[in-house]
Subunit: 158 residues, 3 copies
């Protein structure tokens, strides 16, 4: 899978993923994942200590869709905007049908009144594979946030 075009495809996947969230097209977000998948948001400290408890945990695309529905009902997401900047990916390992990779990210939050702040930084620890059509999707995306300080009411996807 990791031929010469692979780093570009990976960068494009990261770009589309960020754009989906930042454009508030949340209903399309679960489509970046396989039906059976692992998505969680955790902190660097929890991740290092091997603690399972994350801020968000989902092991299927159905759970991701539920998460989006909950966010829409809570109507919490619309109050602010987010902007992801994703750094270049490092390719860690290639397994049989999966490539393991890591990318740093930074997310800013823009409040309705225009105030901006650094919302989160961290790294994505990913396992990506190709679906039946040859498109890259996430088998796993572990979002490891550098800071444990979180506005937990706003548990939106990162």
């Amino acid at each position: 899978m990791t031929d010469s075009g692979f780093p570009q495809r990976l960068a494009a996947l990261n770009a589309e993923y960020a754009r989906c969230i930042d454009d508030d097209r949340m209903e399309a977000w679960p489509e970046f994942f396989f039906e059976r998948c692992l998505y969680k948001i955790t902190t660097a400290e929890n991740h290092r200590n091997g603690f399972e408890a994350g801020i968000i945990y989902a092991d299927s695309k159905a759970m991701l869709k539920d998460r989006v529905s909950a966010l829409r009902e809570a109507n919490v997401y619309e109050r602010q905007r987010y902007r992801h900047i994703v750094g270049g990916p490092a390719i860690i390992a290639e397994e049989r049908h999966v490539v393991r990779t890591e990318s740093p990210f930074l997310v800013t939050r823009i409040m309705r009144d225009g105030r901006m702040d650094l919302f989160a930084t961290g790294k994505y620890i990913d396992a990506v594979g190709e679906d039946a059509d040859g498109a890259l999707r996430f088998v796993e995306r572990i979002v490891v946030c550098d800071s444990a300080r979180f506005d937990t009411l706003v548990a939106l996807p990162l």
Copy 2:
């Protein structure tokens, strides 16, 4: 135009553009555009509502050059430095002579006394084409800022 080397050329264009502004080589900045072009800075809210009024509006390279002259005369730009970080581009559509693409950006401002702040985040909505020499230039660059809060005195290029 979007062969396998295109994403790299696009990333290089974004890198050169950011470097030109951050190095304060503003006189070279209009050269990233075609003679007839569209450059504007607007806000997410205005863009969504289809309002024309932007913070900066120019539809020719000559207008971009005027903008630079005005900035130099106002001597306002020299008081601070900027640093652009541009995320990976998403390729949206390919038309006959133009590729439509979007890239997220983040700009920090560094004041003379060393203070740094988040100045702007947003996305570039671009249409790029090849000039007579095969170099990529902007047919359109719409700078959509996430926040409407602006130090409008400092209407420098983004």
Copy 3:
């Protein structure tokens, strides 16, 4: 050296470098450099004026290793985390065995209590070459920080 795959290799080098520091694998950091090299951290103002005095200066891999040992002894690095976001590289020039390139960077700092701030922004001015195994390493990495405000006690690698 700058064939069609070169920009990707350069982006990968930048990604691995940032990941090494942010994962606190500092002992591996000198390996990104040749035995005889130049690494320094300076400010935009000092760099423009041609002043030699930098915040960090090292002209061999041995000096970089010493720097890491000093940091570990001071035990200062462990108190906070850092996150680098490196923008796309611009290729400036190709010389006989070296490619000159520049990349913008932004580093956030995450304190133990969870507070985050913009720590530094600037650009890497690099000269990269291939080692005997064909891997890219730094002949030079000049870290030019936009701001002169520094927590000089924390003179960690950037």
